[in-house]
Assembly symmetry: C2
């Protein structure tokens, strides 16, 4: 927060305060100011990420780390003074990465760095060797004849753009999520992709690939960006390029995991819930510091701050849900939405932290039409943190995708994602990448939202339910 | 090169030119200007790095890649029109990395990323498990009693500073080169070091460690920076930290390698040699793009440019030596100095390119006292490239360390090394890190030096020989 932004924010607050009962507005402004200053000056969120990444580390759905993470979360939430902490069991698919090896066989033999995409089937013991067909993405492959594709390893070369808002990811991720499923229809024997990321490190980016139920499945792996560019250069030689791939990946049925839930019950309206969500699982590479250790730390510390700075406790309930298996199928989000469907109208607002540790740049809301003015109240409170409102409706992250259709009001606190995809889903997602000052600005923003939604006089109204996405 | 620097440089040139026979000075200035423009606008050096890293890749001393690199170099030098190209056999030690695995066993089990240091002995099949002692560096270890060290895995935590000139490397590299040799004297069972590098990627930095001949040897490995910081956090918990290490490294005697030598013989004074040196070998991780593919490309293209822009050919001989095994014992530099010791007084100047692809920032000379004014001639020619002279004597790089004591005049074209140690000796040393504009400025600088030294009226004089370093 620059001091300039801060002064502007408080001037704005005071202008509004002058048109309201003065003592009450002053008291409320004091609460918000104290809470924000505590978030910015403190170190609690940073210590939480540090604890999770050091004491637990990677925590892929169904793994020993996943179980350790749930135990860690339960213990931390109790130790931090949440009056209610409980576990909601979640069944998750169990996928095991196994070993991965790849090499360019010809024209110029070189080993490459690659990772199986999440969910990929493995190869046979002897691996797969075939000629490589380079093609930008699924759309470009559709323009080729089957004879160009059949028997080949299809290599998707699309480059991801760097953007603040992560839109470059949405544009490029189709090669990862759908590439193998589309290529197998055309007779390909395996798929390689250029990592969906914005860095140039020799560390591949994993992430889920999806197969059509009942259809044939081929192995799929991501090359690091330098290795993808090496493979492109070999293709540019004009000579046939042969590649050998071994993946030891396999599915092993299902495993038990958990949503870890904790709340500060409301002192006046315990049945009205302010919901803060982050996911406890991570990929099996890296230590899930940014994705989503940062989010876990932010929502836990924000809830604690908001409750502590609510005089006498929050009027409404502030609930934190640390979900199971966001990365490989949204198991926890689905389970929460299913188990709490009847309670959906009790959720007065939901917000998700799953975009790393970059500063909150803007916010957006998705409120009922009658609550349009409520966004202005929030704007006044977020202004001291340098967070203006942005155009468009809030959408929530993946873990809110099952609650949004139920009509739950949503706020997006949109973080700077310009560096997020440098380390997303890689071995590089480690503690040292977290900037404490940024993380604490995010914590202050989430705390501000939670305190406001929990204590304002009227609850935010539910929206009309909409058809759920499949 | 900024246009401002360029104008200043040429103004300076013209001022000097006006005090000399005008036509000759003009003609010479034209030559230099055309040559520099060709180096800056062309793409030849970049294409050479691309070819070497794509078609050969890693080329560790004594490996198949090393042999492929020598064949590549011989073919390229002939194809580029060097009239004389030959091989000088070099015997190199053969060390094989093998597999490396490490994990923190307690208090918080986590696997870590590490690489054996070059030359490290391996562990037994079952690995080594012991308690970790964290200590900053060799000097700090010297202050501890043997009872703190005996039976432990000593973990050196020293952080390398980022600097333009690489001085941070010299300050920190002792933990890598001497750590194991010093720790074994105190009873340690293995050594881990924080990677000697300035990045924060989960990619360890290798590099040679040295053992005292005949003394006991213990395994030594480098943790990536994020993993070193993880291990430090576990140590900070105050609980005993146990670590398990497996290294499959081994020495396999000696192997044959080669210095690849090429020259444009002088048309007037073929017995006077302008020497340009870079090393052809690389570590076995990465593809040796920066270290030292860039240097290879620079000296080859600079020699070619200097010869081509010398009217009628260079007056003196311009010789390129691409040395064997710089990384693991300077085998090629030793062999060249030994084989050409009698020819040492024939070397009128030597320059080495082994500091990546960052721009040349300054230059220094080590000339005979009678040639002090020659540095000013060079300054005028380098000024258009934005390269002023710096204080102090030139020292040359590692590959000149055996020629310098023989009295060969040396020039340092000192490159910007601020990013060099982000990827130095890691798997990240790949083509995509090379900035063509910077590489071509370096090429222009080396070509300028070569053309000047090859064609100036008087040769640069030899210096008095000095005692050789062991």
């Amino acid at each position: 927060m620059s001091s300039k932004t801060s002064r502007g924010g408080w001037a704005c607050w005071m202008a509004i305060a002058l048109s309201a009962p003065l003592a009450a507005a002053d008291a409320e402004a004091d609460v918000v100011s104290r809470m924000q200053r505590e978030a910015l000056a403190g170190n609690a969120a940073y210590r939480l990420v540090e604890s999770l990444t050091t004491e637990v580390g990677p925590r892929f759905a169904g793994s020993a780390g996943d179980r350790a993470a749930a135990a860690w979360a339960e213990g931390k939430l109790r130790a931090l003074g949440f009056p209610k902490v409980w576990i909601e069991p979640v069944t998750v698919p169990r996928w095991v990465r196994g070993e991965a090896r790849g090499e360019i066989v010809s024209p110029f033999p070189q080993r490459v760095e690659l990772l199986a995409l999440g969910g990929s089937v493995g190869t046979a013991e002897e691996g797969i060797e075939a000629e490589v067909l380079g093609v930008e993405n699924v759309a470009a492959m559709a323009r080729l004849g089957d004879e160009a594709i059949a028997g080949r390893i299809v290599f998707f070369t699309e480059r991801m753009r760097r953007t603040d808002d992560g839109s470059g990811y949405g544009d490029a991720v189709g090669i990862r999520s759908r590439g193998a499923d589309e290529a197998v229809k055309r007779g390909a024997v395996a798929v390689l992709i250029r990592s969906v990321g914005t860095d140039s490190n020799r560390l591949p980016h994993t992430g889920a690939t999806r197969y059509t139920e009942g259809a044939p499945r081929i192995p799929a792996a991501a090359l690091s960006v330098p290795d993808a560019e090496l493979l492109e250069r070999e293709l540019a030689s004009g000579q046939p390029v042969r590649f050998r791939l071994f993946l030891g990946s396999r599915s092993e049925g299902e495993a038990e995991s958990a949503n870890v839930v904790a709340e500060f019950p409301g002192r006046e309206r315990p049945g009205e819930i302010v919901l803060l969500v982050a996911h406890l699982d991570s990929w099996d590479v890296g230590t899930g510091a940014q994705d989503d250790g940062a989010g876990v730390a932010v929502v836990v510390e924000a809830a604690r701050l908001a409750a502590r700075h609510s005089p006498g406790g929050p009027r409404r309930t502030i609930r934190v849900v640390l979900t199971a298996n966001e990365e490989f199928g949204l198991s926890g989000a689905r389970a929460y939405a299913a188990a709490h469907a009847e309670e959906a109208p009790s959720h007065v607002v939901a917000v998700e932290a799953d975009f790393g540790a970059g500063r909150v740049l803007t916010f957006r809301t998705r409120f009922a039409r009658e609550d349009a003015a409520a966004a202005d109240e929030l704007a006044v409170r977020l202004a001291p943190l340098g967070i203006p409102s942005a155009a468009g409706d809030a959408r929530g992250g993946a873990d809110l995708s099952r609650l949004r259709p139920l009509g739950v009001p949503i706020v997006d606190l949109s973080q700077d994602g310009s560096l997020y995809f440098d380390i997303h889903h890689t071995d590089n997602d480690t503690m040292d990448k977290i900037d404490p000052a940024n993380l604490h600005q995010v914590t202050a923003a989430f705390a501000t939202l939670a305190e406001w939604a929990a204590n304002r006089s009227e609850r935010l109204r539910s929206l009309p339910p909409e058809p759920a996405t499949p």
